[in-house]
Amino acid sequence: MRNFRKLATAVAAALALAPAAALAQDAAPVKIGIVTFLSGPAASPFGVPARNAAEVVTELLNAGKAPAPYATKGFGGAPIQTVIIDEAGSTTTQVTEYRNLVQRHNVDVVIGYVSSGNCLAIAPVAEELKKLTNFFDCGTARIFEDGSYKYVFRTSPTQTMDSVGAALYVHDAKPKLKSIAGLNQNYAWGQDSWGDFEASMKQLVPKVEVKTSQMPKLFAGQYNAEISTLLGAKADVIHSSFYDGDLEALLLQAAPRGLFKKSTGILSAGETVIHKLAAQIPDGTVIGARGPFGPYAPNNELNRWFSKEFRDRYQVPPTYPSYQMAQAILGVKAAWEKAQAANGGKRPSNEQVAAALEHLSFEGPGGTVKMANGKGHQSIMETAYGMSKVVGGKLTLTNIKRYPAEKVNPPDGVKGADWIASGFKK
């Protein structure tokens, strides 16, 4: 019993200490909970670039070193303080940690979540706890198609946009194509990406032949057999929503076998690897960045500021997860300050910030973000695709085509799948 009491005391002390350690700073800072992958295979492509972006952006905001309209220090003058949590583990873990963030660390806003499953799980909890929560990366369209929320927002576009944009681009670039094939990870993101792409292609090219749809396991790592099948299928175009680790393995294994030389590859999340694997990506491969990010970002002051600061600090250019994180923070800042102004300069409540963010249109390093869908909670943006061309060992993008937000996103209140099925009309 005595041993146990000791243990209990230690545990209680540790629990009490943890939030206290993060507390000691000047008065009334805005606490932001940042949740993203810090361990596991999703850390390197998404989690860590996003965390880095969060760190650089919040620091610069606190120092008042951001260009207009974000030049005010912190959030409306109040310094920003971050609590960073790993997104790894089950959704049960994530809901637990979310509750800890909100109720034990008393954060004011939560920005985070790469995994669509986590986003779906967190959304109702955010409503229950009445805590402003902005999903920065996850792609599933189901969040706002299936539910309606007051406190939950997503400043990044959905995966529907990526797939529709990819189909439009392929159709524009290769009007004579006759067959397509797919290579997507066997989980919701991969299945939805392929589903929307296939449906869109069937609208654009009614007679298109689907040669094969390969769905290897997530993080399988070995793709010889899939590559053989795709080589045998001889489709005009191969669509893949693979990302980082898996995408890199795929490109490394596909390059010596000439897969993407024989069929045009369209890599809807390919942007995160172009700096690392230029030699393995044959010219003419279609590269997406899940929106107007990275190489597709507009040449405006915000983008110049963000990419320079990020590059100076981390020696690599920011990829789309970094853009999405920056955009998510800036969006909340814009709404916060708008609400503060409406509140007579006093610190706004979560409800006021949420109301201000609804239907807001703001600028980010990726251009204009319109909170147009999901009753004002889901952003739409323009998107862009281009083709790779290696010049002097560096991968550049040519034939870049931009598609306005309304052309690649369904109207508010219409489900993506229905919209595609109606021939992009409804």
Partner: protein, 298 residues
């Protein structure tokens, strides 16, 4: 049916990879009766060591053809350093515990090693693409395959045949079989059981590291690399019969061929076909395909 050659070639390549990755697990279980989850850590360690050392080798402009030696060397190096540390430092104090408890200890060690790897190498991916393309390609029908894949087949054969010869044909092998049969009696007979355990653990881990090292050129080396390989190795080793070398080989070939056939003919079920095979084999051969008969008890 023109896909059949491709199914077989793809299946063999996958089987070779699986065998190299998994055979160490069956070896360690066979000798020490430990279900070793740090197997995944050694796979990852091998990949990381190979990626960084071979990367440095190539960056210095040394002959790329020798990079295969560097791959092997880095796997040997990292396992010779880390495996004895774990076996001598922690595991040997645990042998008296229950099989499951030892497994949990290796799970705890696996968690610790995951973060250790992250602390050493960070989260950014490592690539060493060069060795994969260096040897050119060969054709099967109208499909071309990088010759590199044959190296893995070679390593798998060497490991399988080498281990078999070692166990069957040498004095050390015979002593090892004695240790496997009854460690207590062996100890009483003056056999240095501790040393056998140390060597077995190191060697088994080394095989995992070699698997990781030779996989490194074909993938991006990222955190979490070693997780999947644990269950995959489990499946292979269990299908074959825990502790059986020919079993592991047969298990790898079965899983490789089934998986490859699935990808070619029914890609949608690839996700769980391995577990399905495992459940099926266990349902009919409760102790795997190559299992020793249970001794009579009364």
């Amino acid at each position: 049916m023109d896909q059949i050659p491709a199914v077989i070639v793809d299946g063999i390549f996958y089987a070779a990879w699986l065998f190299v990755a998994a055979v160490g697990m069956t070896l360690i279980y066979g000798v020490m009766k430990i279900v070793n989850l740090t197997h995944g850590s050694f796979y990852a360690l091998g990949a990381y060591a190979a990626a960084s050392l071979t990367g440095a080798w190539l960056a210095k402009g040394y002959p790329p053809m020798l990079s295969y030696g560097v791959l092997l060397g880095s796997a040997v190096l990292v396992s010779v350093i880390v495996a004895p540390l774990i076996e001598r430092g922690i595991l040997r104090f645990m042998y008296a515990k229950d099989e499951v408890v030892i497994m949990l200890i290796t799970y705890a060690l696996f968690l610790i090693l995951e973060d250790t790897i992250k602390l050493i190498w960070g989260v950014d991916p490592y690539f060493i693409a060069e060795p994969y393309g260096l040897l050119g390609s060969f054709d099967v029908g109208d499909l071309s395959y990088p010759t590199y894949n044959l190296i893995l087949v070679g390593i798998a054969l060497a490991a399988g045949i080498g281990l078999t010869l070692l166990l069957r044909g040498t004095r050390i092998g015979k002593l090892l079989l004695t240790v496997i049969h009854d460690p207590e009696v062996s100890r009483a007979m003056g056999i240095n059981v501790d040393r056998f355990y140390l060597v077995t653990f190191t060697f088994g881990s080394m095989l995992a590291a070699i698997g990781g090292a030779f996989t490194a050129p074909t993938v991006s080396v990222v955190p979490g690399l070693g997780v999947e390989i644990i269950v995959l190795s489990f499946a292979v080793v269990v299908i074959g019969g825990l502790g059986s070398l020919p079993g592991a080989a047969l298990g790898a070939v079965i899983v490789g061929l089934v998986r490859s056939a699935t990808i070619h003919y029914a890609p949608e079920v690839e996700l769980f076909v391995i577990y399905f095979v495992m459940a099926l084999v266990l349902a009919f051969r409760p102790r795997g395909l190559f299992s020793l008969a249970e001794p009579r008890k009364i």
